[in-house]
């Protein structure tokens, strides 16, 4: 039985840099506390859990800051399988802060609906922990586990309104398609492991760049891996779940999916293509190019014909995803760093704007109890503050300066023009045309808000709970500051240098 003969060396405990892992540890402790406190609190005191969740997230921001301010800001753990670099710190900060805003958005919603509250917060934190982990994952196993880590709780959150058939449907669709996509991705990953004999992304990059070795198997692997993440970022034609899930899921969960979960998909995609396949650009660049063009266009065409507000936002966020993919389509060439910066900047600006958008929708739907765009009619006359906020967020999504969305679009186009290839120009033109078309549906909502009568003449004012007010305040300030002082966000973009990419 030679099978049982071990050839392993003597095991030594891996050295763990606990400072580098501190954000994850804080979150893990936080979610355990939420789970335990949930057991011992009565129904009346469940509000405590949302506070605990918020504190866990803010608490995890602290180590992110100390890590960022530390001189040696790049830390590599587990032989480079888990890397804390500036890119990952920026993204961790984004996830934690976006998560905090989502907690604010959810709290009143969760208190008032018949939810399983403790478990809701627990799952939300779990998913965010997965995202935080995703930003540092630099090998196939970590990426895969982080992806499932952030997805599995999200599948269940989408179905969280248990008695609502639509919510059930949303959860089932999200779950099944998510599993399909991760199966395809896994198959691609198994091939990558096979050709590289390592799960480390930088080893894979080396094996793919071996001269003359690039063959069909590598192409297949790259396509499959990109498909897996294209699902996560709801790129057309892998977007089909997104509108259905966004519409059916509880609205705060939709905000979570459309911002945080999508951003996680994007950073995974960025990390994979830039650190693992830099030499495979002849495969993923055209593929992402096509996905980007399709995503922008189809998302817009569908959004134009929606009457349901959340569904329209869903398609709009599909279309926005196409804009984030746009710089990635040229990321393999000279525009690599510009593309990385554009993705980071776009994600930050988009997160602020879209979360604010959902904040307004949540506030308004507390009164209207309807998802129709028409239910926003005359919003300005009875809730002027919400009307103005909604207009700001819509204008930002449409890319009108000086609001945050503009700087994102600017960075994306800058990356394309830096690449200066005909295909980049064509994509830029497609993007420009789409950004005009997009105004069609954003403008339609603005018109409802400003220039339409109030449905049923019901002009009772809207009472917005204070948590929502805080969330709206944070997001609108972020949207304005990002647009007016783009230096702030572009600084993050410049800083976000990705270890392992660009031969570094």
């Amino acid at each position: 039985m030679s099978f049982l003969v071990s050839s392993a060396a003597v095991w030594t405990a891996p050295s763990v840099d606990y400072h580098a892992l501190a954000p994850e540890i804080v979150l893990a402790v936080g979610l355990s506390i939420v789970l335990l406190v949930d057991l011992f609190t009565s129904e009346r005191n469940k509000w405590l859990l949302s506070v605990l969740t918020g504190f866990s997230l803010l608490g995890a921001v602290l180590p992110v800051l100390t890590l960022a301010l530390h001189d040696d800001s790049t830390r590599s753990l587990f032989d480079g399988r888990y890397v804390v670099d500036e890119f990952s710190l920026v993204m961790k900060g984004l996830f934690l802060l976006a998560g905090y805003v989502i907690v604010l958005l959810s709290s009143s919603h969760v208190e008032e609906g018949d939810y399983w509250r403790g478990e809701y917060w627990f799952l939300l934190l779990t998913s965010l922990l997965g995202m935080v982990m995703m930003s540092s994952a630099r090998d196939l196993v970590s990426v895969f586990v982080a992806l499932e880590f952030l997805s599995i709780p999200a599948y269940m959150l989408a179905a969280w309104r248990k008695r609502d058939l639509k919510s059930n449907e949303a959860g089932v669709k999200y779950f099944l398609l998510g599993v399909f996509a991760s199966a395809v991705m896994l198959y691609g990953m198994s091939l990558l492991y096979g050709v590289a004999n390592s799960t480390l992304l930088i080893d894979i990059a080396e094996s793919i760049s071996l001269d003359g070795e690039f063959g069909a198997i590598q192409a297949l692997a790259i396509v499959f891996v990109v498909v897996g993440f294209a699902f996560k970022v709801s790129a057309v034609p892998f977007h089909t779940w997104a509108p259905d899930t966004y519409e059916g899921a509880p609205t705060p969960v939709t905000a979570f999916l459309s911002v945080a979960s999508k951003a996680a998909g994007f950073i995974a995609l960025v990390v994979m293509v830039l650190t693992a396949f830099p030499e495979g650009r002849d495969v993923w660049q055209p593929f992402v190019w096509i996905l980007s063009a399709l995503t922008m266009t189809i998302g817009n065409v569908f959004a134009l014909r929606q009457t349901n507000l959340v569904r329209m936002i869903a398609y709009s966020s599909v279309s926005q995803g196409g804009f984030v993919l746009m710089p990635l389509a040229v990321a393999g060439g000279v525009a690599g760093e510009a593309a990385l910066r554009a993705v980071v900047v776009y994600l930050i600006a988009y997160a602020a704007t879209n979360l604010g958008m959902f904040g307004v929708i949540l506030s308004v739907s507390r009164k209207t109890r309807s998802g129709d765009i028409a239910s926003l009619g005359g919003l300005f006359t009875y809730a002027p503050a919400l009307g103005v906020l909604l207009t700001i967020f819509l204008a930002s999504l449409a890319g009108i300066p000086p609001l945050g969305g503009w700087i994102g679009k600017f960075a994306a186009f800058q990356a394309l023009l830096t690449d200066a290839t005909p295909w980049a120009y064509v994509l830029a033109v497609i993007g420009a045309v789409n950004s005009v078309i997009a105004f069609g549906y954003y403008g339609n909502v603005m018109r409802e808000v400003w220039m339409r009568p109030v449905p049923h003449g019901d002009t009772t004012p809207i009472t917005t709970p204070s948590s929502l007010q805080i969330a709206l305040g944070i997001t609108v300030i972020a949207t304005l500051v990002l647009g007016i002082l783009p230096g702030v966000v572009l600084h993050f973009g410049d800083m976000a240098d990705l270890v392992g990419a660009f031969g570094g």
Binding site: A159, R163, N168, F175, L176, L186, S190, Y193
Partner: protein
């Protein structure tokens, strides 16, 4: 033994699984088809582990098995949920959300 014989077996299982998830209406059967796909990935990984002479493939495969178990649990919970609400687990009937 050839490397490609195991890989082709994996590919066949993968494609049968893909056929299954498209063709099947019953949610439990769709979940079973997904298991076929995940097993094909594991066959791949272990064949490569033998080919490359490294243990990473084994570890990866074990992690996939664990995640697959979690996914089946979640999937069946959702199936029970829709069964309770609709008295049916036909996925095709879940088409209220569309357009």
């Amino acid at each position: 033994m050839l490397t490609s014989q195991f890989l082709l077996l994996g590919a066949i299982l993968f494609c049968i699984g893909v056929y299954g998830v498209i063709a099947r209406k019953n949610a439990v059967l769709v979940l079973m088809s997904i298991e076929l796909i995940l097993n094909s990935v594991n066959i791949n990984l272990l064949a490569f582990a033998l080919r490359n002479g490294s243990a990473d493939g084994h570890t990866f495969a074990l992690y996939i098995i664990a995640v697959a178990a979690a996914e089946v649990g979640v999937g069946l919970a959702m199936v029970l949920l829709i069964y309770r609400n609709r008295r049916s687990i036909g996925l095709d009937e879940l088409s209220e959300l569309r357009g």
